[in-house]
């Protein structure tokens, strides 16, 4: 009881500390609560909509038509479990209007029962699913109407058939992320698709079987999935439940929230630094009290409990504040979510968010403050009675052990937030390296400066007096200087890094503008290839890299059977595991070529030996390096493929680096020529850069002659990627801004804490003849040094990290965005000076007498 009383009385009587600590932790935890709530709500909305997204209880899909045996197997298994099974086909194709405009569309051919769950609502209810089946009707998304200047009732050709636009889609519950798809959606009756002749060999189409289970089997959907998995052995066939559909949709949002989570973690870490500093100063004030309690017989445990209780209460109050704040901005989050995803619903703040955020806030403050507390409480009583004035930190190696729990806590949180062991670990390492460099490097540097320069320097020249004094203050008060540099530098680094990455991505996508193709062609049938080349010559456009594409699936790797990943339902899996699973479970497109094209480089192994002739040996394979890593392939490994029922074996002879942003036809697996040349195939090709007018003209001509060939506008894709990245960068910038704000708040809190000392020092300087102007100059010089070091370190690190990311992801060196960095620098100086002037104002004008008292 006494412990409780002391703890609360202390907090109430230390209002300054309580307010600063609360606000600091509140800022730090706000990011975490916002993100957790965002993720929670996305998942909850997706869960609610998951059946609508899949449109069924179970869906079996593959990039090929199911064999008779497979269909029979499914039907036999489901005969007493399903209400209905229906087919659906999705395929990309060019659409053509009556004035010969053409656009790529995603055709979704469905039966009249579609969807089992959800709806496809049309503007003005101009048609229904029945109508879509019987007549040559199609429904299109509004963006296609605008792009092709269509009106209701206008004809639109898909492949060899001309349809009539009879509906404009107002709401489609099976569409998830708006504006991110490759092309606008067009609904067509399944029976009408055949007449388009779009489903020929090698078309990039997806065949889906949608299943509505009987009510008693709905709950056993997992079992159905498992059993179907045993019947359909091909890993290229996917069996999905509603939650898989929502997971797939949520993946993009989750990737975003993963990275936001990491930036939010930095915010928490920075506020932890600020909290640690405030707590340490609070304890300095309490050293005598601790001495008294000790001398009165209170145990170390009881004394520690007082301060742990205080940390618990402060964490709780700040977490409640953060949760109330986030609850008040939920409508804003809802609007953003609705704009991005089209999902709307009532957003809630779950209890899970509240107690998780409390655990994180309390954990962070405990692991940061406990080492400080333990070092202070453990001092001898006579030392405690000296108070904080003469307390000096003496860092010993064993102190590292005290901070080990904090390191582990941060690492664990980073991995959990990023859902990635690699990214979480990399992130923690970078964070710790920055902290170690700053916290160990700077004191050493300051000490060196002191010995070599400051203690030997006379500050008599007019300019050097203020600067010299500022440098002395800065280098002597190492803890405050180091913490403020650390807090500001990390904030600056994050803000700048996001800008660097945006610039790098833009440059990567926009580089070789003249050389990058404008159109990307796929689904070119073998018999159409020569005709297309001839058309290109005739019309004067250049067709680049026509590359064969052969569909296949992997049967064995090094003689071992290649299985579908069975670990799909683990509660927690990292993003790496998810990616690896997706890669394992999909069919693979092969190609064959003499060697690497202009966007490819062999990084390991040797080039192909020539044409494949010796049929007793496996053919030579070239594998894209990241794909090889995911499948665990190395030089010399053998891979067995199945191409239309025929087994073909290959041996890996080289690993390739591919610059995917070249937008040329590239493949994960390339055979040496002669091995699979006779396999049925389609072709991919690119069309060189054109003006906008030419682009549409060429596209229209190709579609006019080869209606099944699909064409993607690379320019539009690049602009879509940039728009997505910009939206992500905006969200990340807000979080990085939060970090920098915390950095500034830490600076403000530290400055407020030092005011007493600064007032005293200012008074002494005034006594000996310092004018208010000189005082201000000295203070500004001190903050100038701080802002400069924070900018140099923060911006420097952002450039280095930006380069590392550019090398890892883009295989190239990025160009730093100097203008963006300059803007950040100016902002940092401005805010730092503002804090300095606002804090210093209180003692420039005060009389010396009151300052000294």
């Amino acid at each position: 009881m006494t412990v409780l009383k002391i703890a609360f009385r202390d907090l109430v009587n230390s209002r300054g500390f309580t307010a600063l600590f609360l606000f600091n932790l509140f800022l730090g935890i706000c990011g975490f609560v916002t993100l957790h709530s965002f993720r929670d709500n996305v998942n909850s909305l997706l869960d609610q909509r998951s059946k609508q997204l899949l449109s069924a209880d179970v869906a079996v899909s593959g990039r090929r038509t199911l064999t008779k045996e497979e269909t029979q197997g499914i039907n036999d298994y489901l005969k007493d479990k399903a209400v209905e099974v229906m087919d659906s086909i999705e395929v990309y194709s060019m659409s053509k209007s009556k004035d010969k405009r053409s656009r790529l569309v995603q055709i979704k051919a469905v039966e009249k029962s579609f969807p089992f769950y959800g709806e496809v609502k049309l503007e003005k209810d101009t048609s229904d699913m029945e109508g879509l089946q019987k007549k040559s009707h199609i429904w299109v998304e509004p963006q296609l109407m605008a792009q092709m200047k269509l009106e209701l009732g206008d004809p639109l050709s898909l492949g060899d058939k001309t349809f009539k636009v009879m509906g404009v889609i107002e709401n489609d519950t099976s569409t998830s992320l708006r504006g991110i798809g490759l092309a606008p959606k067009v609904y067509v009756g399944l029976s009408n698709l055949k007449e388009t002749n779009l489903i020929s060999f090698g078309s990039v189409s997806t065949n889906v079987k949608l299943v509505k289970l009987l009510p008693e089997w709905e709950k056993k959907a997992e079992q159905v999935k498992l059993e179907l998995g045993k019947i359909l052995k091909d890993p290229g066939l996917r069996i999905r439940l509603p939650k898989d559909a929502s997971e797939q949709v949520g993946r993009i949002l989750n990737y975003l929230s993963d990275y936001l989570g990491l930036v939010g973690l930095v915010a928490l870490f920075l506020s932890g630094i600020g909290s640690g500093y405030l707590f340490q100063n609070f304890l300095f004030e309490k050293l005598e009290d601790i001495g008294i309690l000790k001398s009165l017989g209170m145990s170390l445990g009881q004394i520690s409990m007082i301060y742990f209780l205080q940390l618990g209460v402060l964490s709780l109050a700040s977490v409640l504040g953060a949760n109330v704040f986030v609850w008040s901005i939920l409508p804003l989050i809802g609007d953003a979510l609705s704009t991005w995803t089209g999902m709307s619903g009532e957003l809630k703040l779950g209890w899970e968010t509240v107690y998780l955020s409390y655990l994180v806030a309390f954990g962070a403050s405990l692991f940061i403050c406990a080492p400080i507390l333990l070092k202070m409480v453990g001092r001898k009583i006579q030392n405690l009675f000296q108070g904080g004035q003469f307390f000096r930190w003496e860092f010993e190696k064993r102190d590292l052990l005290l901070y080990a729990p904090l390191a582990l806590f941060m690492w664990g949180l980073a991995v959990a937030q990023a859902h990635s062991f690699k990214i979480g670990t990399f992130f923690t390492l970078v964070l710790f390296i920055v902290v170690i460099i700053v916290s160990l490097g700077f004191p050493v540097l300051f000490s060196f400066m002191d010995k070599r320069w400051l203690t030997k320097k006379n500050l008599t020249r007019p300019l050097s007096l203020s600067w010299g004094l500022a440098a002395r203050y800065f280098s002597r008060d190492r803890l405050s200087s180091t913490l403020t540099i650390c807090a500001l530098a990390i904030g600056v680094m994050l803000l700048s890094l996001i800008g660097q990455l945006e610039t790098s991505l833009r440059e990567e996508l926009e580089q070789d503008v003249g050389r990058k193709p404008d159109l990307f062609l796929f689904d070119i049938q073998e018999y159409q290839k020569d005709g297309l080349v001839a058309l290109a010559q005739e019309e004067g456009f250049s067709l680049r890299s026509p590359s064969p594409m052969v569909r296949s699936r992997i049967l064995k790797i090094n003689g071992e059977k290649f299985k579908r990943s069975e670990k799909e339902d683990e509660a927690f899996s990292t993003r790496e595991e998810e990616t690896s699973r997706r890669f394992r479970n999909r069919g693979i497109n092969l190609s064959f070529a003499d060697g690497p094209n202009e966007s490819e480089t062999i990084i390991e192994g040797r080039p192909f030996s020539g044409r494949y002739e010796d049929e007793s040996k496996p053919a030579e394979l070239s594998i894209e390096r990241r794909y090889a890593r995911r499948l665990g392939l190395e030089i010399g490994d053998t891979v067995t493929f199945e191409i239309l029922g025929i087994e073909v074996q290959g041996v890996v002879v080289n690993l390739r680096r591919v610059r995917w942003t070249s937008f040329l036809p590239n493949f994960f697996i390339v055979f040496q020529p002669g091995a699979i040349d006779d396999a049925p195939k389609t072709y991919l090709a690119a069309v060189d850069s054109l003006t906008e007018e030419q682009r549409y003209a060429v596209q229209d001509k190709i579609v006019d002659k080869y209606s099944n060939v699909s064409i993607v506008s690379v320019t539009e894709i690049v602009s879509k990627i940039m728009n997505i990245f910009k939206a992500m960068a905006q969200a990340l910038t807000i979080m990085a801004g939060l970090c920098l704000s915390i950095g500034f708040f830490t600076l403000y809190a530290i400055t407020q804490n030092q005011l007493k000392k600064k007032r005293f020092e200012a008074a002494i300087q005034k006594v000996f003849g310092f004018s208010p102007g000189q005082l201000l100059k000295t203070l500004l010089a001190e903050y100038f040094i701080l802002a400069t070091l924070a900018c140099v370190i923060g911006l420097g690190f952002s450039v280095v990290l930006g380069q590392v990311v550019s090398i890892i992801f883009f295989d190239g060196v990025g160009r730093p965005d100097w203008m963006f960095m300059l803007k950040i620098g100016v902002g940092v100086y401005a805010v730092t000076f503002l804090i300095a002037i606002a804090s210093g104002r209180s003692f420039y004008s005060l009389k010396i007498k009151s300052l000294l008292s």
Binding site: F390, T460, L465, I764, L852
Partner: protein, 221 residues
């Protein structure tokens, strides 16, 4: 005339009530000497000292130091006046905690842009017997040593007037005596006026002249 204090009035407002501390106080000092000002706690000794040092301004009256009326000076002129004319020794030492002993002594010299401040500060430290502690920080020094550093800081720029506010108040008797002897000796050697505020009658007797501050006025004893 080194110092002339003419009908100085000073009061404070506390809880909307005006309290007069000094009322028509006069003092003249024509030549270098040591003066003690005695008085009870709250009699206004320290207030008077802060007016002489230009740390505060009187409500009425004037203070003239070496022909300069400091009551009419602007803040920046007062700063210059303090730097050139006054050395102050406080009861609580008031050293810069992040500066070494030498740097503390150098500070007024650097503010005055004197030549060779390091050498001059070192000499002042030698005079107070702390040359070997020059690179120590205040938290590494004893109370007596801190006060000696404060004395060295006060005398280093060779001011005409040294104001000492209970300089031995925070020290034990022996250390206090030794510090005071040192102050007297240095002031005498440098021909500075020493104005010592104290309530220690024995210490006051060591000065050339003693005043008592009572009933808001100075009376020579």
């Amino acid at each position: 005339m080194i110092l002339e204090v003419d009908k100085v009035v000073k009061g404070y407002t506390q809880a909307s009530k005006k309290l007069d501390v000094l009322d028509g106080l006069d003092l003249q000092i024509e030549r270098p000497k040591s003066i003690a000002i005695l008085g009870k706690s709250g009699s206004g000794k320290s207030t008077f000292l802060s007016l002489l040092g230009g740390l505060d301004r009187p409500d009425e009256g004037k203070i003239v130091v070496n022909g300069q009326n400091i009551t009419a000076m602007k803040e920046s002129e007062l700063a210059k006046y303090r730097a050139e004319n006054i050395g102050i020794v406080f009861q609580q030492f008031h050293l810069m905690k992040t500066f070494t002993a030498l740097e503390n002594v150098m500070l007024p010299l650097e503010i005055l842009k004197k030549e060779n401040p390091r050498e001059k500060a070192m000499k002042a430290l030698e005079q107070v017997g702390l040359a070997d502690r020059a690179n120590h920080f205040p938290h590494q020094l004893s109370g007596g040593e801190c006060q000696r550093v404060a004395v060295a800081r006060a005398i280093a720029p060779e001011p005409k007037i040294i104001l000492a506010d209970e300089p031995s108040g925070n020290l034990d008797t022996e250390t206090g005596e030794s510090v005071m002897n040192m102050i007297f000796e240095l002031c005498q050697r440098r021909e500075s006026v020493l104005i010592l505020v104290t309530h220690d009658t024995d210490l006051a007797r060591s000065c050339d002249q003693i005043y008592e501050l009572s009933s808001k006025k100075l009376k020579a004893i």
